[in-house]
Point group: C2
Chain length 213, copies 2
DNA sequence: GAATTGAACTAACGGACGTTAGTATACTCC
DNA sequence: GGAGTATACTAACGTCCGTTAGTTCAATTC
């Protein structure tokens, strides 16, 4: 039983779960092809051939890691889509995903690796996570015109706010070096949350689109 | 002489330059450790040991790629810092870097790999590219108070707009799948440019910071 | 024209990789 | 208590990797 499990009074994690945990961290840090099964096994405390008692091969392990992350992260957008799209509920959604990515940075990292380098199941991953944000062309119920004064810009804006949240995670070393504080500390996260919410608020209130061509 | 050079009436690229070109593309796509010298050599059309006639080893090649990218991309921020910081000049800087990253997506990709996985010289790369945005605490000369109503938020906002520009590049496959168009086409780039400029404009005009805690 | 240099090549090394085969051990079920 | 299953192990394979050594050939220099 792991120390973590003892401290938290959790049931001991199965070997398969411990493999998934280790593999998630390593795939997220290094990407698919740069992660070796030997390193995964080392982290779990077993030999690499023993991994094959739990997963068919490296690709199956990777897909299992992705599947678990997708289920973990599919809640907030489903919840938003279950009700009316209002400024307030979108702000709540934004806050939720900021906190969620902060609590587990691995999805953002793994997805960024996949977007850069590909790997098994990359397009499925993208579809499952982000299609729900686009496939129905719903717009704000409490807003008269299109956001930012241009309806065509709305999908771009959705992507942009997602990228804003995720790139804070994937660029965390930059924040550490340049801002001189731990980007995963509680107060740094509150700063980031304040920033993205303020930005979204600024977009909601923006009516000066005539100033740009 | 390459076909490209003939068509453009350029002098033939030296072998070292062709190696740098190939290595830049591959390091940007796959990251440092997932890129093999064999693949670089294949792309250039030589055998991998021949690379050692031009670069001491893999790490030296990688550092040379980074150095060339840094010099290519250090112009705009230096130009901005050479004059007064005004809304208009920051908007121009934003437009410049959007176009620059669009013209060569490799810096954003390589930097994202470095931020995720590390690699030789990562902290130097970050320092050289981004320190100029922070080391002098200059603020807007045409703005009375702090942007977004909170001076502490300004470095976060600078990082955020950078990430916005770069994550459009590093997340390009997502844009292709979800928005159904080539993210590097001219018109997609104009859309992205319009979005980030509008966002910055919205920030400049935002005065409703009292609405958030 | 001989000597030097630069840049390509082949061959080979030691190590790490994903994967398979075969084996040993401990728990579960009748 | 014996059979069966689950899960760990060691040993080994073929492949790819970065790198070194040594060779060849063409261009440059004296």
């Amino acid at each position: 039983m792991s120390d973590q499990a003892v401290a938290d009074n959790l049931p001991p994690a199965s070997t398969a779960e411990r493999i998934l945990d280790a593999a998630e961290d390593l795939f997220a840090e290094r990407g698919y092809s740069a992660t070796s099964l030997g390193d995964v096994a080392d982290r779990v405390g077993i030999r690499s051939p023993s991994l094959y008692n739990h997963f068919r091969n490296k690709e199956a392990l990777y897909r299992a890691v992705m599947a678990r992350l997708v289920t973990d992260f599919s809640g907030p957008i489903a919840e938003l889509r279950a009700g009316p799209i209002t400024h307030e509920r979108v702000l709540e959604w934004l806050e939720t995903i900021v906190r969620q990515h902060h609590a587990n940075p691995n999805l953002a990292r793994l997805l960024q690796h996949a977007a850069l380098s590909g790997g098994p199941g990359t397009s499925d991953l993208i579809e499952q996570l982000f299609r729900p944000m686009f496939d129905s062309s719903r717009s704000f119920e409490d807003e008269p015109g299109p956001v930012l004064g241009d309806a065509a810009l709305q999908p771009w804006a959705v992507m942009a706010f997602n990228n804003l949240v995720m790139s804070y995670i994937t660029m965390a070393p930059m924040y550490r070096d340049l801002l001189g504080q731990d980007p995963f500390s509680e107060c740094a996260m509150e700063q980031q949350l304040k920033l993205v919410k303020t930005l979204l608020q600024a977009v909601f209130e923006y009516r000066g689109h005539h100033l740009l061509s």
